[in-house]
Structures are given as C-alpha cells and as structure tokens.
Symmetry: C2
Subunit: 343 residues, 2 copies
C-alpha cells in the first residue's frame, strides 16, 4: 500500500525495485560527456527507418527490448507498459510499442514523462494492478523541430536560450523486488504557468513547476536538499536551472551544491553547440536510465530526487497567444530498500 505524506507526496510502504534500465541515442549523444552510458547508439538519426517519426518509434522499441534483455524478461512477462512522448498523439510510443503486445497505459507529460511513467508504474505495482511494468519515453531532434519550430531545411537561427532536443530514449523495468535502486516516494506535479510566452525559452517556463514540486516534497517530508546526493532536474538547462535555484532560495531551500540538470549532462555545452543545454523527453530518460540508475544500482549514488519537467503547450495555442503551462513530477529513489530518508 501507499500512503499520502503531507499534502502532495505519495510514499510506498514497499519501495519499488528498478530491476534494469537501458538508454538509446544517436551520434551526437554518444559524443557527449555520458556517451559511454548508452546501451545502443545509432550512427545516424534514422535507426534503419525511412522517416524520423518511424525512427523515434524504433528507438522506444529498442530501449524497451534492451531493458527487457538486461532484466532477462520476455515482453509477455510484463503486465503493463507506461509510455508517452512529445509527438502529436504520442506516436513514438504507440507505434514503437505496437509489436510487443504488452497492455499499454498511454501518458502525456511532455518532457516530464520519464518521472510520470516511473511514478505511475510504481502505483500500479504497489496496488497489485501489475506485477511487472515498464516505463519508457523518447524524443528526436528532427521530429521535434519539424513539429514545434521550423523545418530543418529552413536553417533557422537558434536563440541563446534555446535547448537542443535529444535524439534518445530510455526504458526501465520495475517490479516489487530486491534489485536496487528503489522508488520510495513521488510527488505528483500541478500545472504551473507564470506567463512565459517564448517557445525558445522552455527552461524559464518550466522552472516554476519544478520549484513548486520540489518545495512541496521537502515541506511534506521534512527533508532538506543536502540530505540527497543529487537533486537532478530534467530538463531546465542553463537558464531554467538558475531560475529554479533562485525561486527555491526564496522558499528557504538552497540547491546550490546538490542540484544538477539532465539538460546540462547530456552534451558538452562548450563544444557541442547546444546553447542552453539538452531537452526533450529522451534527455532525462536517457540520463536516468543510462547513467544515474546504473550508478545507484552499483551503490555509487544513494539518495536521488529526480524531477522531470514538461511544457504542456502545443503550437496552435501558442499562436493563439497562450502562455506556456508546465508541470514537474518528482520521484525519490534510494539505493537502499529499507532505511530510506522518507517513510
């Protein structure tokens, strides 16, 4: 069973085990600081397919298959997969998962999807509605540019606050078990909107959502930023990260020495020309599933807050003058099953 702690936070009596995880990326991701962490790298952006959209579906399929292989499970061993992505009608997931035949709960959380899927899968496992689950998401630079900004052929100039959508996917296999790390708690985000209208400054739009969710988790649990090895947001980038720390400092929480962001870890910001950092559902998914969760599995990291952030707008409502609504979901993971910081 789960219980509510404080107003917003869910704590699992029996923490949920992440049995295995996998990350898939393309050439650019392999050249970044955590390039070694990818299980599968494709040298071009097509992954053997004829279109970018089909390539993104193939990435989700590959990420899940690789995670299942590492867990030594077949698709038929999995009761439910929780997935979504940035493409219209989440077709990265729906077409990527079509061949598995696993019962599917489609999620939409934009770039917050990796945290949303880990959290939702954990609740299904906790209740007994599923015995084993997979959480998965993806993004693709070319599908995102085509859909949200400009056709690549246009060669549009990128602003300094723009982030680079990762061509990457991540998947994790979850169960009630004894393989570290463990999901102990989660804070479900609310929709926040401080009126940012610049679709090239997503970090600023999403920072208030991250600040609200993180503050609520600390308030609800009585823990402090320095209790954790890492408070890892994804994907606020350079601009959003600064705003987040400023907002939380006003609330009495100092993240200066323990916070980082998936959008700052995937690429080398000096050498890879990505401006304010990485973004896209696949950014935090691959950083977590390829890099952070394995470090927790081997005991090199112990207590992590993972807060994935998503911008919830589409191009039509932005053209109609709407500001960018955002959300952030938080998951608390520990390398220990018992004796976590929150109970």
């Amino acid at each position: 069973m789960a219980k509510r702690k404080g107003t917003y936070t869910v704590v699992f009596d029996e923490p949920i085990s992440v049995r295995a995880s996998a990350a898939v990326g393309s050439k650019k991701e392999s050249e970044g600081p955590i390039g070694h962490a990818f299980d599968v790298i494709n040298e071009d952006d097509y992954f053997g397919e004829k279109t970018w959209e089909k390539a993104e579906s193939r990435m989700q399929q590959t990420a899940i298959q690789t995670a299942l292989d590492k867990a030594k499970y077949q698709p038929s061993d999995i009761d439910c997969v929780f997935a979504g992505d940035l493409m219209n009608q989440c077709v990265g997931s729906t077409y990527g998962l079509r061949s598995f035949g696993i019962p599917f709960v489609g999620l939409f959380g934009a770039c917050s999807t990796m945290a949303e899927s880990l959290m939702t899968a954990s609740v299904f496992l906790d209740s007994g509605a599923a015995g084993r689950a997979v959480a998965c998401t993806s993004s693709h630079f070319c599908t995102a540019e085509r859909q949200f900004r400009l056709p690549l052929e246009y060669g549009g100039q990128r602003t300094p606050t723009a982030q680079w959508t990762a061509t990457a996917a991540g998947a994790a296999v979850l169960e009630k078990g004894d393989t570290p790390p463990f999901i102990h708690a989660a804070t479900i985000g609310t929709i926040e909107d401080l009126g940012i209208t610049d679709a090239n400054n997503m970090g600023a739009a999403m920072a208030p959502a991250a600040a609200a969710t993180i503050k609520r988790f600390f308030d609800d649990t009585g823990t402090r930023p320095n209790d954790y090895d890492l408070v890892i947001t994804g994907d606020l980038g350079k601009v959003g990260g600064t705003i987040l720390r400023d907002l939380l400092r006003r609330d009495g929480y100092d993240l200066e020495h323990c916070q980082t962001d998936c959008g700052l870890m995937l690429y080398d910001l000096e050498k890879q020309d990505v401006h304010a950092g990485a973004s896209g559902c696949g950014c935090s998914a691959s950083v977590m599933c390829g890099h952070i969760l394995p470090l927790m599995h081997t005991g090199q990291l112990h207590d992590i807050l993972f807060i994935a952030t998503g911008a919830l707008m589409n191009t039509t409502v932005v053209q109609q003058g709407e500001s960018i609504a955002s959300i952030a979901h938080l998951v608390y993971l520990s390398s220990k099953k018992k004796g976590g910081l929150v109970s």
Copy 2:
C-alpha cells in the same frame, strides 16, 4: 489492494465509488436522444471563448467544476486528476485544468481516455496514492476537424463511414466510498492494428482492439455477455459495431442482444446527418458521465462493461503510409459494492 485475475484483468478488493459525474455539450448534443442528460449546454461551439481550442479547455474545466459541485467538493479536496484529449499535446486538458491547482497525471489514449482515466484513477485510489480523484476528457468537432481532417471552411464531403466528433466533455469524481456505482475491475488494452489505413473509417480500425479487450475480460473472469445489463463500447459507430460483433462471435461470445455503442446513442443517426455515428473522447465521456453512470446511481442499470476505444495515430504517420493502431480499455461497473459478478 488489487489483484490480477487471469492474464489481463485487474480486480479491486474494495470497489471504487463514482461519487458524482457531469457532462457538458453544445447545441447539437442537446438535440440528440440523450440531450436531457447534459448538465451544461452551450448554444454555440465557443463556450464564451475566442477560439475552438480554448472552448475545448473551457469544456473540461466546466465538466470538472460541475462534477465537483455535485459531489460537494472543492478542487483542494481532490488529490489527483487524470485527463487527456485528442488535441496535440492534450491541450484541452492541460489548459482546461490549469486554474484548479490539482495534481495532474496526463493521459493519452485518444478516444479510449474516459475508460483509461477511470481505470488509472481507480488504481491510484486503490493503492492509497490518492484519496479522491477526478477522471475527465473532452473533444470538440471543430478542433478535431482542423487538426485531423480539413479546415471547416473547405466544406469537404464526408464519407458514409465517417463519424461526427462530439463537442462534449465528461468528468467523474472517484473515491473509496459507498455512493453507487462502483468500479470493480478493469482490463488494460493492448495496441492492435489489423492494417486499416482509411482515416475516415475509424470504427473498422478500432473494432479489433475492442474485440481483443472484451474477449480477454470474459476469458479472465469466466463471465458471459448476457451476465451484463449492457456492454457499451465507445465509439465504434455503426460500421465498427458490426465488425466487433462478428469478431467476438467467432470467439464464441454473442453480443447481439446486450451491446450498444456510445457513438450510436449521442445523436439521432436518421435526423442529425452524422453518418456512421458519433466519435471523439467527449462522446463516450458524456454518454457515460451524463447518462449511464446516473442510471446506475439510481439503480436502473446494474452491471455494465464500458469499453472505450481509441485510434492512436497522428496525421504525419498516416501520410507516411502507416496503418491505424488502436487500443480499447475496459471498466466493469456495478450498482452494488458487494456481490458484483467479478471478485
């Protein structure tokens, strides 16, 4: 706690109460056979807003507010809202729910969203991750036409198999409680695709998904179609309904005398020029929340299988030659808390 029954079905030890529900529609819906069942009708399609997209968001907001009023709850009494819709990036939900401040789990299931949201909310309530929840979805004829087919100004000819997207929303308030009806069980759908490529024949594309889910529920529970007052699909329309009954007859399940479809109930197919029936997330949402759930509340209907069906494609992948992947989620509701047909 929930338990798995058979391979695909989830049964709740303590069934989840639907405390209240509400439906919102426009003029066309008010003129149909269940026009009296709508709590709020707007005489035009704009609901006081300047664009159709904002109107759809306003419909979700109104449906939730009305359901909360009927339940005598404030937004702050609700731990989590589960919602999604057909618009790109689910902006009907994200902008419609923005002002409530309720923690939000975004779902994507296309027109299966009402069943998906009832099922997912039930699991969260079952586990204790939420104490009270809202499930909600919407659709709007004009936002759907603009996004999926042709601008309305084009005046395109509709094919005989085409369905009419409902301008409607439905919301339900769920909790562990004693107000009928009760959600006893659910079957999570898998992604099915038999190769239909005609975006004007959604009923045919979705029928195999409905057949697969319904067959699994009967197989898992050992119950039969005639055990239920109604097997209500949404929204297969005239064409898809015939295919569904044919497919299930081959599997040994005869739906001839107990099945109907939300897409056949919302409009008068003779008089309202909707061709093969109604469709859209708001179709099954409003039929269930405005008509069926209230009939169960007052004991006029007892045992219902609700199977909402969704087509999971977008326009880009269809232009790239993909067939239409579909899904159907099933929820078993009873007017009785104890002594349901499945335990």
